[in-house]
C-alpha cells in the first residue's frame, strides 16, 4: 500500500518533530511528577477510608450521605453508584478546607455567588481557618441593598 507508507512517514515525521519540542525536557522529572501525582491521590484515598465519617455538615446545614446499601435493583437503576459518589464527595478529606479555598476562588473571579431568584446571596463572614473546624458565620444579605434578611 503506497499511500499507507506515505502516511506512516508523515506521521513519524510529526512524531519526531513533537519529540524535539516536548513540553518536558527530562524523563526523570516527568516520572517524578507521575509518581507525585499517584502518591497524592492514593494518600487522599487512604485518608478518606481511614478518617471516620462525619454525620452532619454544620456548614451546609444538612446530614451527609452515608454508604449506600447494595441491592441488585439499586445497582441496575444506578442508584447505588450515585450513592457511592455522594458518599465519597461528602466524606472527602479536608472537605471544609477545600470549600473555603473554593470560596476564595469564586470571590476572586465572580462576586455574584449562587443566589436565589430574589437576589439573595450568601455572604460569609468571620475568621476562616483552613483547619476545617472553625466555621464562618453566615449572614444573609440582600444583594442589592446590603440589608440583612431575617429568617
Amino acid at each position: 500500500m503506497e499511500t499507507r507508507k506515505v502516511a506512516e512517514t508523515i506521521s513519524s515525521d510529526v512524531k519526531t518533530a513533537e519529540k524535539k519540542h516536548s513540553l518536558f525536557q527530562n524523563d526523570g522529572i516527568g516520572l517524578a511528577f507521575l509518581l507525585t501525582l499517584i502518591v497524592i491521590i492514593t494518600l487522599m484515598l487512604l485518608l478518606s477510608i481511614v478518617i471516620p465519617d462525619k454525620k452532619i455538615s454544620e456548614r451546609e446545614n444538612r446530614t451527609l450521605a452515608t454508604f449506600p446499601k447494595f441491592t441488585f435493583s439499586s445497582y441496575f437503576s444506578g442508584e447505588f453508584n450515585t450513592g457511592i459518589d455522594d458518599y465519597f464527595s461528602d466524606n472527602f478529606p479536608f472537605r471544609d478546607a477545600f470549600l473555603n479555598v473554593n470560596d476564595k476562588i469564586t470571590k476572586l473571579t465572580s462576586q455574584f455567588s449562587k443566589g436565589g431568584d430574589d437576589g439573595i446571596v450568601v455572604i460569609q463572614t468571620g475568621e476562616r481557618d483552613l483547619g476545617g473546624e472553625g466555621f464562618g458565620d453566615y449572614e444573609e444579605q440582600n444583594a442589592d441593598t446590603g440589608e440583612e434578611v431575617s429568617n
Binding site: 500500500m1 499507507r4 512524531k15 519540542h21 516536548s22 513540553l23 518536558f24 525536557q25 527530562n26 524523563d27 526523570g28 522529572i29 516527568g30 516520572l31 517524578a32 511528577f33 507521575l34 507525585t36 501525582l37 499517584i38 497524592i40 491521590i41 492514593t42 484515598l45 478518606s48 456548614r59 451546609e60 446545614n61 444538612r62 441496575f76 444506578g78 453508584n81 457511592i84 459518589d85 465519597f88 464527595s89 461528602d90 472527602f92 472537605r95 477545600f98 470549600l99 479555598v101 473554593n102 470560596d103 476562588i105 469564586t106 476572586l108 473571579t109 465572580s110 462576586q111 455574584f112 449562587k114 436565589g116 437576589g119 450568601v122 444573609e140 444583594a143 442589592d144 434578611v149 429568617n151
Partner: protein, 474 residues
Amino acid sequence: MVFSSLIFIYLFLAITLILYFFAARSIQQKNAVLLIMSLFFYAWGEPKWIILMLISTAVEYFGAIVVDAYKEENKAVAKGALGISVSVALLFLFIFKYFDFFSFNFSSIFGTNLRILGLTLPIGISFYTFQTITYIVDVYRGKADVQRSYFRLLLYVSMFPQLIAGPIVKYVDVEKQLTSRKYNGRKAGEGIYRFLIGLTKKAIFANISGEVASLYLDGDLAELSFVGAWIGILSYTLQIYFDFSAYSDMAIGLGKIFGFDYPENFNYPYIAKSVSDFWKRWHISLTTFFREYLYIPLGGNRKHHVLNLLLVWAFTGLWHGASWNFILWGLYFYVLLVLERLFIGDFLEKIPAVFGRFYTILMVVYGWVFFYFDDMDRLKSFFKVLLGWSGNEFIGISDKTVFVNHILFFILAVIAVTPVSQLIKKYFIKLAEKNKTTGLLCDISLVVSALFLFFIDTAAVVGSTYNPFLYFRF
C-alpha cells in the same frame, strides 16, 4: 462517572494508575488493566447497557474478519459483510437514540400511532458506534489490518479516556499502540499537565460561565433584556467551548499518561476567519469522521456536491441529539457553508482578517441559540430578544452588576479561548531547550504550577458538591 469528579480522580484513577504502573508488567497485563478498568468505568454509569457495547463490538469484530477474508477474492461478499455490520451498528444507534423522535414525528405527521420505546440513551453510544465503523471500513479499504483479538478491539472501543465524550479516535490512529506503546517520563509529564489544563477548564471556566449562562437563558424570556440575552448567549458560547474542549484535553492527557496518542479535537475555533474555517477547528474528530466515512463515499465534491453537503450537515446536526433544534443547527451551518463556497468565500479571504473573525463568531453565536433551546417557542422568543425585536427593555437592573462582578472572569476566559497560551508555550519550550539548567528549571516550574492547579481544581470540584440546605429560599 465524569472526569471532573472526586470519585473519578481520587478513587478510580488512583486504583487504575497503581495497577497500571506497579502491578502490570507486560503490555498484555497493562492492556488487561486498561480494559477491565474501562469496562468498570462504563458499567459505573451504564450498568445495564454495557451489554450493547460488547455486542456492538462483537458484530464489528466478526464482520471485519469476514471482510478481511473476502476482500481480495470476492469483493461482493466483503462488501455485504461490511454493509451488514455497519447497518447493525447504526441500527442500535437508531433504536436507542432516534427511534422515539422518529416515531413521535412520524405519528404526528401521518396520524399513525407508533409506539414510544422510552429507552434511555446509553452513555457514549454516539462515540463508540462511530469508532467501530472506522475500524471495519478501514479494514475494507485496506488501511487497517484486521484485529484478531476481540479483547484488543474492545480495548480500542472502550478505552475510558475517550469513551464517553470523544475525541472519536479512528482505529488506524491507535492500531499500533494497542500492541506497543513508546513511553517515557516526558510523555507522562505532558499527559498529566494536559489533563490538569482540561480539569481547570471544566471545573473552573466551564462551570462559572455555565452559571452565568443559565441565569439568563433558563429564566422567563419575557423579562429578559437585550443586554441580558447577549450576556447569556456569550456566556454559553464560552461554556460550551470550555466544557467540550476540556473533555478532549482530559482525554488526550489521560491517553498520553498510558502511552496513547489521540488526535487533537479543537484548535482555537473562536478565532476562525470563516465558518468553514471554524469547522476545521471545532470537534475536528467528528468533522473528519463525516468527511472520510460519509461525504467522500457519497462522491464528495465530484458529484451532486450540494446534496452531499446537505446530508452531511443534516447528520452532523442530528448526531448531537434527536431533536429538531439540532437538525436546524446543522442546516443553518449547511446554508452558511454553501453561501461561503458559492459567494462570499473569496471575499472573506480578501478583506482584513478581523472582519472575517467578527462575522464568524457572530454566526457561531447565533448557531448556539439553535443548539441551546430545544423548545421551539423559547428558541423563537430568545431570538427576538437577541435581535432587539421583542420590545423588552434594553438593560435590566441586575445585568450591569452581573457583568461587572464577572469582568475579571470574562477577561481571563476570552484570553483562554485565543491561542495566547500556545504562544507562551512556544517561548517556554524555547527557553527550556536552551541548556540543561533552563530545561531543569522549566520542568520543575511545570510540576510546581501543575500541583498548584491540581489543588485549586480539587477545591473547585469539592465546591461543585457544596450543597447547602437553603431554608430561606421562599
